[in-house]
Symmetry: C2
Subunit: 217 residues, 2 copies
Amino acid sequence: MNGQLPRTARSDARDNRARILDAARVVFGEEGLGAPVRKVARHAGVGPATLYRHFPTKQELITETFAEQRRACRTAVRDALADSDPWRGFRGLVERICELHADSRGFADAFVAAFPEAMDFTADREQTLRAVGELARRAQESGRLRPDFVVGDLVLMLTAHRGLQDTPHAVRAATSRRFAAYVIEAFRAAPQAAAPTPLPPAVRWPVRRPGARSPQG
Amino acid sequence: MNGQLPRTARSDARDNRARILDAARVVFGEEGLGAPVRKVARHAGVGPATLYRHFPTKQELITETFAEQRRACRTAVRDALADSDPWRGFRGLVERICELHADSRGFADAFVAAFPEAMDFTADREQTLRAVGELARRAQESGRLRPDFVVGDLVLMLTAHRGLQDTPHAVRAATSRRFAAYVIEAFRAAPQAAAPTPLPPAVRWPVRRPGARSPQG
């Protein structure tokens, strides 16, 4: 055997790993990243020792759990940047991010809040926000995005979007879509005929310490 | 004495009551209505027995704690209805409600979520939403509010607004003001020259059972 597991033990391990990731998607998806790892183990029907053998830290578990969402987000960013119409690209990206966040409270947590276990998401978030900044610049040049929009306004709206996690599960996706459509309307530049309404000043949030937890955590 | 408390005992009781209400405003204001009553007692520096003597139920404590906010909300509704410009009245009411909610997570909970202890707020909420409906009808007639706005959209936005409670305390009020301004921009009717952008359908949320708690609770 040369240190390899027998075939059945290997396939058991594979099954357990898949079961743990499915359970993590459900538990973190509904309750956010604050949910305890032992709840994921219970939901997967495995012991804590088995979970820790596959994922020695919560951070590793979270990183693997949301691998698919992170890929989807990167694809959305790439598609948006490649769109020949920057306002259409911007709109599409806002819609797609809201959709991914509505689908999983945990993924929204990882993007918006400062959970130490979601450190691996920092680079993704910064890449996404850089793309939003680039799209916004182009969409403002084309006159479709309001000139006083700043990237922090999208973070503000995604933070607000997390409040919608309290809506009943059956209507959450539809609620999120209506919210996203309103957000896009709010960001749209007034037509040249109409006088733009000034917004109150944009807010620069103080940077959180990396170890800080959100009050939801 | 004829059953009356001596003067000092009466003034002690008055002090305790005021201290409890101050503590409740802080604790429920920061943590929402889910915060335990014993935490309010601890914050006020009184024993649980003293708190229960003044407020036998959490419901009575909550009702008294937010008496001022409820008055402020009723005044805002009255002012908005009395405004000769319905769009200005509507805008002012949205701004004022956001301000009151940003100021206290507990008051936002009482308005938006189904906490059984906030039953006394049901009538207030319904009165406010009736006023919003009346203002919306008039503002739509005047052509300033988009024709596809429904009252549920304001509830949607106030539910989202609760997500902003996660922003650092120092910038919460400013964040809430920028959010409110964007919401008003989103609700504003497109000028006649511009083609209106259709929204996805409005969502009718299933009615919650009166005893149901929000997942935040």
